[in-house]
């Protein structure tokens, strides 16, 4: 498989995947996992990927018009595979299931209450569960899941793994790209390990060469903590907030202080109002009750999608005179790369660096590690740690356990 400028991404890959098998695809960032899945799904041409050799999916070449009735593909950005404005219409329109069956599966996945909500207002985790619900209900022969647990908290990851097991029992073949090897232990039949353009097929997750490396990334290696000055930069007291279209308060009685030079982690599962709290702290929303006081002149908010923060075509222009930050945050090699071509990890680091360049005392960051593989997540944590060491206060909203490695204090919501 060849990418842009004829770069060889994968070579000498020969593999048969049987019906009812679960195959886990693992490898470092950039090893070709998503490329592999895209080739199976028949979307390789969208990314100018060239294939030598042959791929047969259910007996056909991976042409979408031929394999559509056999294959479900959930891409890395799961929201992009939802076509309808409401989840229940998505499940009615793309499966043969009745409303009753849809409700049963939705209850199993914990998304029953979301069926009539706007698809746009669902969290990434909820959308991923809608996609899995669709895979279950459509009973396709082959299900391709790219980074399926990247947006999920621990409870929902276990749910998804259980459902993949059920998919296998119902006779579907599942190819999963993921890094959480412990999650898939006992569920996957084989592991396809990709590294340096080569592919090796293994019988279990334990045999995976990077198993130990990934375990270490998840371990409790605490970053060095720095002494705090004690000066409060932001206080929130008994903050309540309700959206205009809702009867219930999404934020109820939130209280927290943020002290100079600390990382304050607002922790909670999917749909608990973490992003809303950040917007309240930033002054974008006004609390229905309570108050927020900021004792710094400037603050910056980096949204969950870091692309929405960026406002210049290249990192060099985004950072302006602060090229020193590019060196520190490992962006020096991509300074002149158009932002549309940056990876998710690079965009996230750039957004945080740019925000710090504009407001070095207080940053609000929404889900800094979401959607990232362990290596990139770790790099983002390094960035947060570096900024903290310079006295920057960082308030992070996240469900990701990576934050345990850097957070000074945790506020549960």
């Amino acid at each position: 498989m060849y990418g842009v400028r004829n770069r060889c991404i994968l070579k000498n890959l020969s593999l048969d995947i049987s019906l009812g098998e679960v195959l886990l695809v693992v490898g470092r960032s950039g090893s070709g996992k998503t490329t592999f899945l895209r080739c199976l799904a028949g979307v390789a041409h969208l990314y100018n990927l060239r294939i030598e050799g042959s791929i047969r999916v259910c007996g056909y070449e991976p042409d979408p018009s031929k394999i559509a009735r056999f294959v479900t593909y959930v891409p890395q950005e799961p929201w992009a595979s939802i076509a309808c404005p409401y989840p229940f219409t998505e499940l009615l329109s793309f499966t043969q299931a009745s409303m009753k069956d849809i409700e049963i599966v939705a209850k199993e996945l914990g998304i029953y209450d979301k069926l009539f909500d706007s698809s746009t207002n669902l969290s990434a985790g909820e959308i991923q569960r809608i996609c899995v619900a669709e895979a279950l209900l459509s009973k396709k022969k082959l299900v391709l899941l790219d980074e399926v647990s990247a947006y999920l908290d621990s409870e929902n990851r276990r749910r998804i793994a259980k459902l993949v097991d059920e998919l296998r029992k119902s006779g579907s073949t599942v190819v999963v790209v993921d890094h959480d090897l412990e999650l898939w232990r006992g569920i996957v039949d084989r592991v396809l390990y990709l590294d340096g353009g080569e592919a090796i097929v293994l019988n279990s997750v334990d045999e995976t060469p990077i198993y130990e490396e990934i375990r270490r990334l998840y371990k409790f290696e605490m970053f060095r903590r720095y002494t705090k000055s004690g000066e409060i930069v932001l206080e929130a007291r008994d903050v309540w907030y309700r959206y205009p279209d809702s009867d219930r308060f999404v934020v109820s009685g939130f209280t927290a202080d943020a002290v100079e030079g600390e990382i304050l982690w607002i922790r909670g599962g999917s749909g608990r109002g973490k992003s809303t709290i950040l917007k309240l702290l930033a002054g974008i929303y006004r609390p229905s009750r309570g108050y927020v006081r900021r004792y710094v002149e400037k603050l910056q908010l980096v949204p969950e999608n870091p692309f929405l923060y960026l406002s210049n075509p290249t990192p060099r222009e985004e950072l302006g005179s602060r090229i020193d930050l590019a060196r520190e945050l490992d962006l020096i090699d991509v300074l002149d790369t158009p932002i549309a071509l940056l990876s998710s990890g690079e965009r996230r680091r750039l957004a945080i660096a740019s925000a710090y360049a504009r407001a070095s005392r207080l940053l609000l960051v929404d889900e800094p590690c979401i959607g990232l593989d362990p290596w990139n997540a770790r790099r983002v944590l390094n960035v947060l740690d570096t900024l903290r060491s310079r006295g920057c206060t960082i308030i992070v909203a996240s469900h990701s356990r990576y934050l345990e490695l850097v957070a000074d204090r945790i506020v549960e919501v």
Partner: protein
Amino acid sequence: MFVSRSLFLYGCTELRLGTNIATAMHLVATFVLASRGAPYLALPFLAVVLCYVATRSYALIPYALLLASIPGVWFAVSRFIVDLALGMQCDPLSYASIYLVFVLGALNTLYVLHATNLSELCYVVTKLTKSRELGLAPYLLWRVASKIFKDVSEMLYAHRLKGVEVWKSLGMTFVWGEEVSKLFTEGLLLKAPLFRAKAIYSRRALALQSLVLLLDTVSILLSTR
């Protein structure tokens, strides 16, 4: 943000489970009544408010009223300026009447957008074009529009705090729009050919629409006297 809120505030309410034919008929009736004067729009306006309340979509009313006020104020003020420039007598009542006609007219137009049954639209398009991909278009258009509106709102919040000029934000909107388009293409290439349009209705929604049409008819009859 007001546009986004007024169009995409709620998920699938019962308001969206009527028939588009009734909604279109109401729109035609609104234009006819608007041409005959503001008082004749009172009953249809009440009927529309009743629909919002009955389907628990109350929050749409202030957003829609605010959006509808824009053409109302525009035309009323324009008329005042013209009268002033031509040395004609300024009549506050006539400006109020112009404002009301346009606000009520715009509000009823917004009601049409809030009450459009997308599932029925998809079904009709599929039948007419015999194409599943084209049949998906109404759903996809709504989905992409709401996604873009939401993302752009988030972008503008972040850019406001950042102090970014509006033209730059606009530029980034186009870049993001292109990326969204590419990602949706990847995500839906396999799904689109399998789309099955199903028209979904609610008896209660149809009953409410009948009430609206009844009040429209009464208003038209009153206006012909």
